[in-house]
């Protein structure tokens, strides 16, 4: 009797385990060397649509105590909210660098990803890298911005777009300039965009866009500013943090 019970339990367990989807964990290459610190080379603060891959890969470098690059050190990437890394772990190359392609999760907002490596005694060194996922509103804001705003507000020129930033007397704020823009309320920003700089005692070089853009477009622009802000924007007013 007892044996039969045992047998059926084993059988049931076996069947359920066969049903569950098992993904084989890839054999991990053991680290050939150890570093003491991780530094970011490129690829932080990128903005991409929700669920999409970032345009540029994220590159980090492992250094030893003296700051020289370490080849063959193991780097692991991790991130919450459905972030996918391709690959999520691996050994640094001969230049001490490790490159991964990152796809963000399906919810808009800031994604903080962590790259980590261990030194020879097993102590972890890690860096945090921020990336931004744009939802519908921020994407619309980016389209509006690309047509009407970036030429003055972005001081960088690209082959397709010459910046007008340095031709102005007033220095147009970069849209990532959270230090300044976070302090302005949505209503302030909407007023400046809609009525122009002169109407609010700022430079007339900022034209009024109230008759050019619709209200949803201006809201979308503000949404974009909030998403890109560095340091990150925290909404003002009634705000009760969750536990």
């Amino acid at each position: 009797m007892n044996r039969a019970w045992l047998g059926s339990i084993v059988l049931a367990l076996g069947m359920t385990s066969a049903c569950s989807r098992h993904t084989a964990v890839p054999a991990e290459a053991p680290p050939k060397a150890f570093g003491a610190a991780l530094v970011l080379v490129s690829g932080d603060k990128q903005a991409a649509g929700v669920g999409s891959a970032l345009d540029q890969p994220v590159v980090v470098q492992v250094n030893d105590e003296k700051g020289t690059a370490v080849a063959g050190a193991l780097v692991r990437f991790a991130g919450a909210g459905g972030v996918i890394f391709d690959p999520d772990r691996g050994l640094t190359g001969s230049d001490g660098q490790f490159t991964t392609n990152v796809s963000l999760g399906g919810v808009h907002g800031l994604y903080r990803i962590v790259a980590a490596t261990k030194n020879s005694s097993g102590k972890a060194a890690e860096i945090r890298i921020d990336e931004i996922a744009l939802g519908y509103q921020e994407t619309l804001g980016k389209q509006v911005s690309d047509i009407h705003c970036v030429r003055c507000h972005d001081s960088e020129s690209t082959p397709e777009r010459v910046s007008n930033h340095d031709n102005l007397i007033a220095q147009a704020h970069s849209f990532t300039d959270g230090a300044i823009l976070n302090a302005m309320s949505d209503a302030d920003l909407a007023a400046i965009i809609g009525h122009g700089g002169a109407a609010l005692g700022k430079s007339a070089e900022m034209p009024p866009y109230g008759n050019t853009l619709t209200k949803p477009e201006i809201d979308a622009l503000i949404g974009l500013l909030r998403a890109l802000a560095d340091p990150p924007y925290r909404p003002q007013g009634i705000f009760y943090a969750g536990k």
Binding site: G49, V50, T139, K142, N164, Y209, P216, Y240, G242
Partner: protein, 687 residues
């Protein structure tokens, strides 16, 4: 009676006497009855609703939050849309903006979108099973529920079910729809919009009826082997042909080619100028003619520079025959009547210089390995079979091969294709989006016998294409017509008469849009006659100078004669007039110096126009809008007046903001601009 006895003894063994048996049975029945309320009590959604109440408890606005909270099963029901969505049962906080800090699902508020939740529900955009009340069944593809949630990166596909026009907020959908046309997908696959319009290609695959005059069989074979080896930007896909297949197709293409009506015989082909001085001159002529507005070329650093309207020319010297090139440069239409390339009216010397320059752009490695023996009739015949099998005539005009009908599966409803009708390649997750992505990325992974060629696409392009295809759903066909925002109907506008011939000859529509037809590289010209002064237009047509210093795509010089310029200008001035205003609204002769002075103050002060425009090249630096140093000779006073009031109504989509100036200000600024006539033309310092 041995059996009942045995049963009775087993009964007694298990339950004892009848009193305790009754007790045991009652207990079992009670437990069974308790399962029903217990099952209800442990429902998944009820757990989430309790979690939500715990979450809002203690927040400052808990009272108003809990007042708006509705317990029990919630449902959005819209029979005319087929919506039965119970998502709000667990997603309790979709409308609660004050919970913006909550990061855990299902309690996040919905991000701002242009539609109300109660208008469309959830499933029309997100897909999944609206009627399900468990997490697994609502979101995933399970045995009884087919449709999984649409991954966020394809979400714009849902917008495309109703919005057949271009939406500013859906760049990925727009990019995907453009790519379907640009990469010629729609030349093999029929794709109908829900309004019945069949998508057409926007690429310009060259006709091959006279190919032997243009290039060599070796080049064709090498190109067929790998188009991207010749030009990285080539949109022709790789058909993954074997060497004998490229040999035979090239043999057939040369064999079917007939001579075309050329300039040959009328005048000798100009000799290619190959010496250093001529090469340098040719290089500058290539630049001055703004060939790079349409054609790209790799620079010394390996970067691709130039437009994508025409083919990349990095290795043009390895491709075309010089006699053909001479003819082509003199008048492209004689070879390809539908080409987008304008007729440049170059003289023999200029043609020679350009041939010399382009011939120098050759790459000996490209043709290095291609050696072909003379073709046999059997090879030509095999080549023709291959051309028919591969569907070359879907895109290219070929003698003796008809464009096939329904060559590839129709994709009008691909976004609703049932999963059980799909054969998944190994390793591809069983969702429609993954299937479409994998199919675009590597068509042959689904079987070597498949005809679909291999495209060279960036991951973003694959996502965009998948998004556009996922918009082709059954739902899009059955939604109420009142919800449909139709796409712009294609315009077949054709200007008539002598001017119409000139507009066709110079292929103005390749770059300019008039009356809904044409490209978007250059300004729209629908109301050009109301906008410009005739004298300026004539001189501009003869020698286009730069109006917008920051643009890298420029209007080429077509070397038109005085008579041609005059004919065109007359037509434009007469026909392309806006009904929005009368040219006589403003009499510019009445402007006083005081008006001009007031306008200047407004220009530099109140409106700070110098941020974007240059009037005084020594002082102003604005680098966005056109230079206004001589705007008084270019634009009419009435146009400027109305432009300052509402630019978007005259040219929708222009970067100029709508200033909504009052009449007085607009009149004064116009007076100032009209006065910008005789300023000597100075070179603006290039930034």
């Amino acid at each position: 009676m041995s059996l009942p006895k045995r049963v009775r003894s087993a009964w007694q063994y298990l339950f004892g006497d009848s009193a305790s048996a009754f007790g045991t049975l009652s207990a079992v029945l009670l437990i069974l009855l308790a399962v029903v309320p217990a099952k209800d009590y442990f429902r998944e959604w009820l757990g989430y609703q309790k979690q939500y109440l715990r979450l809002i408890h203690g927040r400052g606005d808990a009272t108003s939050l809990s007042r708006r909270f509705q317990g029990g099963l919630q449902q959005i029901w819209m029979p005319e849309l087929g919506v039965v969505d119970r998502c709000t049962t667990c997603h309790t906080a979709l409308k609660e903006a004050s919970l913006a800090d909550v990061k855990t699902q299902p309690f996040r508020p919905h991000p701002a979108i242009p539609h109300k939740l109660t208008e469309f529900g959830c499933v029309i955009c997100h897909r999944g099973q609206g009627a399900a009340t468990t997490v697994e069944e609502a979101h995933n593809s399970t045995k009884s529920w087919e449709e999984p949630i649409l991954p966020a990166r394809y979400l714009e596909a849902s917008c495309g079910q109703c919005h057949l026009d271009r939406l500013m907020g859906t760049p990925r959908l727009n990019q995907g729809r453009d790519a379907l046309a640009q990469y010629g997908c729609v030349r093999c696959h029929t794709i109908k919009s829900p309004d019945g319009v069949i998508m057409t290609g926007s690429d310009a695959p060259p006709p091959l009826q006279h190919i032997a005059d243009k290039t060599t069989r070796e080049w064709i074979a090498a190109w067929l082997k790998n188009p991207q080896a010749y030009a990285g930007s080539a949109t022709m896909p790789n058909f993954q042909l074997a060497d004998d297949e490229t040999r035979d197709i090239s043999a057939f293409l040369i064999a079917q080619s007939t001579p075309y009506q050329t300039h040959k015989g009328t005048e000798p082909a100009p000799a290619a100028s190959q010496d250093t001085a001529a090469l340098q001159e040719g290089t500058s002529l290539y630049g001055e003619s703004f060939c790079s507005s349409c054609h790209a070329m790799q620079n010394a650093a390996g970067m691709l520079v130039g437009g994508n309207l025409g083919p990349e020319l990095t290795r043009a010297g390895s491709k075309v025959k010089t006699e053909w090139l001479a003819d082509w440069l003199r008048d492209p239409k004689t070879y390809d009547p539908d080409t987008r390339m304008p007729h440049y009216r170059l003289d023999a010397k200029e043609v020679g210089l350009l041939i010399g320059f382009l011939s120098s752009k050759s790459d000996s490695d490209f043709l290095g390995n291609t050696q072909l023996a003379a073709a046999t009739p059997a090879q030509v015949e095999h080549g023709k079979t291959l051309v028919i099998e591969r569907g070359c005539a879907n895109c290219h005009a070929i003698n003796g091969v008809k464009k096939p009908d329904n060559f590839a599966p129709e994709l009008t409803l691909v976004g609703s294709r049932p999963l059980e009708r799909i054969l998944f390649a190994p390793g591809v997750p069983h969702t429609l989006a993954d299937y479409i992505g994998a199919k675009i990325r590597q068509p042959r992974s689904f079987g070597n016998a498949l005809k679909m060629p291999q495209y060279t696409l960036a991951p973003q392009q694959v996502d965009a294409l998948a998004t556009a295809l996922l918009a082709q759903t059954q739902l899009a066909q059955t939604l109420p017509v009142s919800l449909r925002i139709p796409g712009r109907a294609p315009s077949h506008y054709r200007p008539a008469g002598k001017a119409g011939q000139l507009i066709d000859d110079m292929r103005c529509f390749s770059c300019h849009k008039i009356d809904g037809r044409g490209g978007d590289m250059a300004p729209e010209l629908t109301w050009e006659g109301s906008s410009v002064e005739r004298a300026w237009l004539v001189s501009f047509l003869k020698n286009p100078n730069t109006l917008r210093p920051s643009l890298i795509r420029r209007m080429p010089k077509f070397n038109v004669t005085d008579a041609e310029a005059s004919t065109l200008a007359d037509y434009i001035m007469t026909v392309y007039q806006t009904p929005a205003f009368d040219q006589e609204t403003l009499d510019s002769s009445r402007f006083t110096p005081a008006d001009v002075e007031h306008g200047k103050e407004l220009f530099y002060g109140k409106y700070a126009c110098q941020s974007c425009h240059i009037v005084d090249p020594n002082k102003d630096k604005g680098y966005i809008g056109p230079t206004l140093t001589q705007v008084g000779t270019r634009l009419t006073a009435s146009w400027m007046f109305h432009w300052l009031k509402n630019s978007q109504s005259l040219r929708p989509g222009t970067q100029e903001p709508v200033w909504n100036m009052n009449d007085e200000d607009a009149r004064a600024v116009t007076a100032f601009l009209v006065a910008q006539k005789n300023a000597p033309r100075k070179e603006v310092a290039q930034k």
